[in-house]
């Protein structure tokens, strides 16, 4: 059985269609990323899966249950890190975790929850004095307090510094390694690429690309870039040029390794150097840009 099964999900606010007939599934133990720009419909989808909102159409099953009708049962097995949710500002971090431990069955000990999220040193700090990134870490501590089977993470690392972001990625990876299913929404493409094995990209409420992370990216064009050597014209080059930006030639090609070898061989024969040569396979950013350019076209 899949941890999450979504078929033809729809949700509107008045005339605005926030989610338009999307379908996807998430296997148990998998990290699945739901990507998209702000307003793409990611958070609405997540809130429906978490049982906060009722869908207008389609079917949703979470751990085999209806998240609206069986909300109590679903929530006992899920942890939710919301994009926006408040804290009691006058409680300390330790008091907040202790308070939440009273509300969550079989909760982690406070020390373990704080250590997991790197907040041990902040235990005595009032929530109102935490930075945005530290509040996100406290959010994660509360979401993982009940050792959930399924974890919803809505933009989990927004506001975190690079070190905290890396630490959070490690926590998420570790939880998944121990069998926790993770549904992640993010607009940090690097985050999705680092964590998720499968993903779906949403735009204007619809899924516009989906699949395994590696396969989807492999199907995209790679990128080779270098500074145009002096005295060389674009039409002299042995590969098709996509763009020239400030003297840097950019080639989008299906296999960037082959294109780079061709270019180096061509340059070697002519005694030229390709300064600033950069070769990389497709990234999610490329995929996003591709989707955006198709949309604009």
């Amino acid at each position: 059985m899949e941890a999450i099964q979504v078929d033809g999900l729809r949700k509107s606010y008045g005339d605005f269609e926030a989610v338009r007939e999307i379908s996807f599934s998430v296997a148990r133990g998998e990290i699945f990323a739901l990507l998209g720009r702000n307003g793409a419909g990611k958070s609405t989808t997540l809130e429906i899966l978490a049982g906060f909102q009722r869908p207008d159409g389609g079917t949703v099953r979470v751990l085999g249950l209806d998240p609206v009708k069986d909300r109590g049962k679903v929530r006992k097995s899920t942890g939710i890190m919301l994009q926006e949710a408040g804290f009691f500002p006058d409680l300390t971090v330790a008091q907040t975790v202790d308070s939440w431990r009273q509300l969550v069955p079989a909760a982690r000990p406070r020390a373990e929850a704080l250590e997991l999220t790197g907040l041990t040193a902040k235990a005595g700090t009032k929530v109102r004095q935490l930075s945005g990134g530290e509040k996100r870490r406290l959010d994660l501590a509360l979401a993982t307090l009940g050792r959930p089977d399924l974890l919803f993470l809505d933009e989990p690392t927004t506001g975190m510094d690079p070190e905290a972001r890396k630490a959070t990625w490690d926590v998420v990876t570790d939880l998944a390694a121990h069998g926790t299913t993770v549904l992640l929404t993010t607009h940090y493409l690097e985050e999705a690429q680092r964590l998720a094995s499968r993903m779906a990209i949403m735009d204007k409420g619809a899924i516009v690309a989906a699949g395994g992370m590696a396969e989807t990216l492999a199907a995209q064009t790679g990128r080779v870039a270098f500074e145009l050597p002096a005295g060389v014209e674009i039409h002299d080059l042995p590969v098709e040029v996509t763009a020239v930006e400030g003297g840097t030639v950019i080639c989008r090609v299906p296999d960037p390794d082959v294109a780079a070898q061709t270019l180096l061989g061509w340059a070697g024969e002519r005694g030229l150097r390709l300064r600033g040569l950069e070769v990389r396979t497709a990234t999610l950013e490329d995929l996003f840009l591709d989707l955006a350019s198709k949309e604009n076209a």
Partner: protein, 255 residues
């Protein structure tokens, strides 16, 4: 909703309540100041007339219950809704009933405590005698506080945002006080239909039973007197629960 979950939320609410200096000033100090201060003052002005002091106390109890129950419930729940604290509480495994029930239980307990402290203080400091039937009196204070707190939660459904929760809730303690005789003979100037309407308020139900228990009479007579107030409280409770079940918002409006 389990009792354990509801109590856990109530305990959390209580912990927050007693740390919140604003809530303590606005609710506890104001309620105790008004509830004890005016009857004590009345005792000085009308020395030797315990029935007038008792009437003043009961009038002020209507004000106290509205301030500490209705207003506190409306202001606190609206703030927690807008700060997305209710949403976070719902993100735990708690049922909606436990979240809201726990929040209301906490406010109701504070309200009952304030009403009872007010009563004990006035009886101790003035010529007013203790209620003849303290159990029935206490039962109706508890029932009244529960219904009034529920009504505060129902009132949040029309409060657009936290900033206007207090001003939108203040008129009710004036109305409750007016109907219960907290402001002296002003009530006698009201038209008959308005007096009848004010008698149907939940605070009026508590005051009516209070008057019976502070006067001469029998337990059987008290129970007879309590029948209509009990019905009034039941109707208000049903209205509040209906509104909450259909219209209560756990998050601020998105548009």
């Amino acid at each position: 909703m389990t009792a354990r979950e509801t109590l856990a939320v109530a305990r959390l609410g209580g912990r927050i309540y007693w740390r919140d200096k604003q809530a303590l000033t606005a609710t506890v100090l104001t309620s105790l100041g008004l509830g004890i201060g005016l009857p004590v003052l009345m005792d000085r002005v009308r020395a030797g007339d315990p029935s007038v002091v008792a009437a003043q106390l009961l009038g002020m109890l209507a004000v106290v219950l509205t301030l500490s129950g209705f207003n506190q419930s409306a202001v606190s729940l609206t703030a927690r809704r807008d700060q997305l604290i209710l949403k976070r509480l719902r993100a735990t495994g708690l049922g909606d009933g436990a979240v809201l029930g726990g929040e209301l239980l906490n406010i109701m307990v504070q309200s009952v405590l304030i009403a009872l402290v007010t009563t004990v203080a006035v009886v101790s400091l003035t010529s007013a005698s203790a209620p003849r039937d303290p159990i029935l009196f206490a039962v109706f204070v508890v029932l009244g506080a529960a219904v009034i707190t529920l009504l505060g939660a129902a009132w949040t459904t029309v409060i657009p945002r936290a900033e206007v929760a207090a001003p939108m809730s203040i008129p009710f303690f004036m109305i409750a006080g007016l109907g219960a005789g907290a402001f002296g003979p002003m009530g006698q100037l009201l038209p008959g239909w308005l007096t009848t309407a004010l008698d149907l308020l939940p605070t009026a139900a508590v005051v009516k039973v209070g008057r019976a228990t502070f006067s001469d009479g029998t337990f059987a007579g008290d129970l007879q007197t309590a029948a209509v107030p009990l019905l009034i409280l039941s109707v208000w409770a049903a209205i509040a629960l209906l509104v909450i079940s259909r219209r209560f918002r756990w998050e601020p409006r998105r548009s």
